[in-house]
Symmetry: D2
Subunit: 409 residues, 4 copies
Amino acid sequence: MAAGQLEQGPTLRVTGADLRTRYCAVRARTEALAARLSPEDQQVQSMADASPAKWHRAHTTWFFETFLLLPHQAGYRVFHERFSHLFNSYYEAVGARIVRASRGMLTRPGADEITAYRAHVDAAMSALLEQCTPAIAALVELGLNHEQQHQELILTDIKHAFFCNPLLPAYRAEVPAPRLSQKLEWREHPGGVVAIGHDGADFAFDNESPRHQVLLRPFRIAARAVSNGEYQAFIADGGYRRPEFWLSDGWARVSDENWETPLYWLKDDDGSAKENSFVFTLSGAQPLDPHAPVEHVSFYEAAAYAAWAGARLPTEFEWEASATADACGPRFDHGEVWEWTRSSYDPYPGFQAFEGVAAEYNGKFMVGQMVLRGGSVATPPGHMRATYRNFFPPQARWQFSGIRLAKDI
Amino acid sequence: MAAGQLEQGPTLRVTGADLRTRYCAVRARTEALAARLSPEDQQVQSMADASPAKWHRAHTTWFFETFLLLPHQAGYRVFHERFSHLFNSYYEAVGARIVRASRGMLTRPGADEITAYRAHVDAAMSALLEQCTPAIAALVELGLNHEQQHQELILTDIKHAFFCNPLLPAYRAEVPAPRLSQKLEWREHPGGVVAIGHDGADFAFDNESPRHQVLLRPFRIAARAVSNGEYQAFIADGGYRRPEFWLSDGWARVSDENWETPLYWLKDDDGSAKENSFVFTLSGAQPLDPHAPVEHVSFYEAAAYAAWAGARLPTEFEWEASATADACGPRFDHGEVWEWTRSSYDPYPGFQAFEGVAAEYNGKFMVGQMVLRGGSVATPPGHMRATYRNFFPPQARWQFSGIRLAKDI
Amino acid sequence: MAAGQLEQGPTLRVTGADLRTRYCAVRARTEALAARLSPEDQQVQSMADASPAKWHRAHTTWFFETFLLLPHQAGYRVFHERFSHLFNSYYEAVGARIVRASRGMLTRPGADEITAYRAHVDAAMSALLEQCTPAIAALVELGLNHEQQHQELILTDIKHAFFCNPLLPAYRAEVPAPRLSQKLEWREHPGGVVAIGHDGADFAFDNESPRHQVLLRPFRIAARAVSNGEYQAFIADGGYRRPEFWLSDGWARVSDENWETPLYWLKDDDGSAKENSFVFTLSGAQPLDPHAPVEHVSFYEAAAYAAWAGARLPTEFEWEASATADACGPRFDHGEVWEWTRSSYDPYPGFQAFEGVAAEYNGKFMVGQMVLRGGSVATPPGHMRATYRNFFPPQARWQFSGIRLAKDI
Amino acid sequence: MAAGQLEQGPTLRVTGADLRTRYCAVRARTEALAARLSPEDQQVQSMADASPAKWHRAHTTWFFETFLLLPHQAGYRVFHERFSHLFNSYYEAVGARIVRASRGMLTRPGADEITAYRAHVDAAMSALLEQCTPAIAALVELGLNHEQQHQELILTDIKHAFFCNPLLPAYRAEVPAPRLSQKLEWREHPGGVVAIGHDGADFAFDNESPRHQVLLRPFRIAARAVSNGEYQAFIADGGYRRPEFWLSDGWARVSDENWETPLYWLKDDDGSAKENSFVFTLSGAQPLDPHAPVEHVSFYEAAAYAAWAGARLPTEFEWEASATADACGPRFDHGEVWEWTRSSYDPYPGFQAFEGVAAEYNGKFMVGQMVLRGGSVATPPGHMRATYRNFFPPQARWQFSGIRLAKDI
């Protein structure tokens, strides 16, 4: 079970030295991501769902301080006694949290002080990692995976913040190369009993367990994600104005928020969206690439597109079965966008939350969300796996979320 | 498949004469439910989720006028040309709808005019039913089941409206007899492949199809619903103040809306809820019966109670497998409260919406809701079945919704 | 002072018999206004600012029960012990009030029971009025003026409710005759020290006192209110799209609520407002009369129109000085619409609230509102006077409120 | 008139050299105020009414660029073509504005770039000031007074932002010395016709004109503002729980926002406010000084306190008459807190807005606000005068606003 993995699994895989190396690499990558951001950039919180980059840097550090150093490192002194309050995210058991939507109000500590906080914790962690028990190693591994999740959020959150700025600043200068056109092909799966969920010694989150059997019907699944050009055809065909394609809640959202395109598509100067020729990216405003995967769509839009296309979204079980099928080989392309599935985020049968301090990690979010599978251009290297269950509310659009189609046979 | 059932199934079961009898009985029951309500009572809409009784009476009638009489009865003249606009509920394809939250604004037509509208449609339906094709019979059957759903809503909605009135009026004079104490027993199910969903000639909604196989783990399920007395112990143990039992969204709801008890439990005169000795019912304020099932809890409360009790909620598949198991016999008591399951309301594999006019019936609500199984004291006679999938958002409390526990083995 | 008037004034004017006659006439007029309304019509509350007709009928009755019968009629028994709670409006000192926006939730007592309540109170009042002291007579007079205020609200509130109904029901069958064109003439006032406020033995509200001197500059004031045709020219000239005419709060309101015309002007079938040829009235949809006064405009619209017209609104002092000037004679026409003034609703110097039970009558509303002067087609006969200070928030549009222009000399 | 003053007045008073000196001094003071703030501090906007310090620095600079340099300095090149859009505040005539509540979203330009922007504009202004016409000088003087207004806002806005931070950071280290107890004395004014409004060659805003005569009744006015200790007595006497002292809107605000003390009074550790012994200041949390003026109260609180104290607030005319009376001498102490008056912010008779570019300066805010007189510890040196009309909505509490009492004689 998940909790057991945490306590025993990682010791099979990493030595203390390996873990130290990995700790340093993950922590350094966070700082590298933040290095492109000014103190002001790190301060801003552009909506309640997002968090300031500074907060991400501090909160991931707070995890190590709270769950590793304080209980396991004798004599550890906290960097600042109030940080436990400021940088807790949702662990109700650990104490009062600052209101989520007010994270952007904290101008102090500043970015520099967070840098010092990280250094303070890293130094103490370095000592702790020298005498690392399996239980500690499991928690460290959890902390590193947790930090990798926040690395992706640093990118999605600053993208949203920059989009709110009429200057449309660019996070980076590099521009992705245009893609080649790629025909939409379908793969068939015979259905039957498949094994779903994580199994083995590697790290996985508690929500990926226990591995269990699921009975599938035969189905077809697209070999790649839906492209911008395909999505433009949906728009051109009145996709955002025809309720027959939409779930009821989705149609209400379209109407209430005047959705006409995916989140970051730019309007023409006259306010119309008819051309849809430019899109806001981490590299600023760029021409829309018709052959790149459509991204920043909600589950509602994904489901409406699928209905328009005469298809449906795959369940998370179909997705996982396809991604792990022997024959799928290189033709089941994924990893550029998180892919909405037609599966609500429910617990697997026999699900047990991580034990102890991390008990609140995943289980308490298992309502009102949809599962996404795969991974995106913003996902850290090594953080994707076929059993990974990402989840967001059906209206969320600020993640790098896209669409894969499926069909009954 | 569902659409096929609609067109062919009912002809196997009911003759035209039977259907006329059934039509009259269902329609008369609606009027009997409304007969206890004054014109003012029928006018009120106490929250956006509820509807006026008058509207329920008109909307169910609109269904027959729109989907049966206009397309199938030559020469039919509508009762009022604007009623199609006023009493449409959610069929986007049929035309603009009046904003849901504003149904209580319509003082005209009055209750009397709705009575005349019903008589007008019933007279025309009587003629249509004399020459009833299978396709028409299927639509009539859908209309009658639709009206039965609204019969339950008439009761839940007026209960909420009366609760908003400081006078706490009673809908009826009869008071239920106190229950006997009943020990909580558990039934075991061996798991394995079970058949789930509707099969056969009887009517069922599209969301109960197709019948398909699901692989279950062994589990235990409680033989009866959780009682008020058991729920009081949860409250007394700090259930509403301890976040560790709650889903994150549920805990936010508890805090934002100051939940301290199920919806209709009455506070003591000093505003405290500590005694919880009275509850608002359709018979007005009544002493809380500790042995009756707890009702008017949300999914969040159901899940929190289960966590506190060291158990969990059953999935809808476990529930259905238990309810249809040969051995369960009389000891799987249900039918007093709708029972929240741990299943999100997702489509069954191979799901197809009803075809044609009724295509919007169920499918478009398949996001953001949880499945409830069973039936309640407000459910019309003959309207319960083991495959029935009721659904409401996880925060909904104004239905007669309760709790059944399950456990892994 | 106002309180003194209340205790001594009316005795100078009305004998007990006169007061009984007047009591019966005012009370009967309320019932006559409500007689055109169904029980459902009397139930509805279409927005938080409005109240159900049934509530108006009950609240005005509650006034007499609470402030006259209970303290002054020995042995009086209340009609229903909870009505004091249900029908209090804003007298914080008398006990908890039901939330204003929830008045439409009270289906019980029904309209018939309110009729009985009124009869019960009227019978007791009839006895009290036979032995009427000056102090009681003053309170009765206040209660009757209070009821007359609610008579106007019965009309404005049901007009709003009917407007929310797509059927656009008519309150009455009579249609006003078209008006003749009337040239806009100006009257000059020399300014100087003028006496403002109520003086004398007749009834007046506390906010009209004390009579005091105000120093005015010379000014011009229009002899009639702005007409629909004149207001159409403002619209045609882009009045609702040009911020330069608007107060900042007004412009925000125009944008947020998409104001394009006065409240009840009807759009053409294509949703545009360009023709503005029909308007919703108490007689249903009617052709817009270009020579009738424009009505149902907010203070913001009144001020914007005045700015567009190269004029301004009069202060309440200028208005009163004009209305009471000897020479103005029949040519200072008013009484069809309440006229927004450029005066905030502040207390007169030396203002004293009514003493005792009626202390909360006017003073506590003296912030955030603008003064209107005159009276409207909905104002009861005999309820207008030159010193009357009506007041509403600047965004209010559901009253019969119009525009009079003024200019500096 | 105001517009005339702008064009001719200042030339009587300042030479070009004087104006250059003054320009440099005012601009330097803004930078000195901001120098205590980190880039993050300058970024934050803690509520819609406040603005980031960075925005204040840029917006005041935008004023000079837009209204002075672009129209009057040949060949001037804007610092950044989009800044006109980003830093416009409310001048509808100048183009689209960024939504007020989203000012805190602009992480770019950063604080350093704003410093460069200010230097760029100051250099160009230096050249312009060498050839300064009277009309230009008048606009410069307006721009400098405008910047002084924003200097006060820099302090009030950062105070609010720091208060939102659980760390309660201090803006400055200096702590004010405790005050001596001072008896509350009253001054009498005989009333009569007094001259109100600005007159003369010095700068004043358009809302202070024209100077005109007002007729006053005799009155008494307190010689100093209400102290913290006096206000504590109001709280201790149930001031925040007794509706009889409050305006209706004020009482609603007390209830909705759970007001129990002035804005920045700190609760005790147990969440209660009963001690009220500490208050948040620009110097961080400090002991409450009972002899210092109470500050950060709304108009509602000021009026409620006055009612409780058996007094009332002065009108703005009584205040000005007292402040300019010959005999008042040093005993009419003011200048520590802005003092709420009982006057709504209406135009003076004959009011004319500034002409041309500055026409939107004051007039369009003349609704829904109350006048404050005096000045506060945050008001820049030289920016106070007896005719100054400050204004805020009655619920505003984040300004240094206090209470002065008056009484009828």
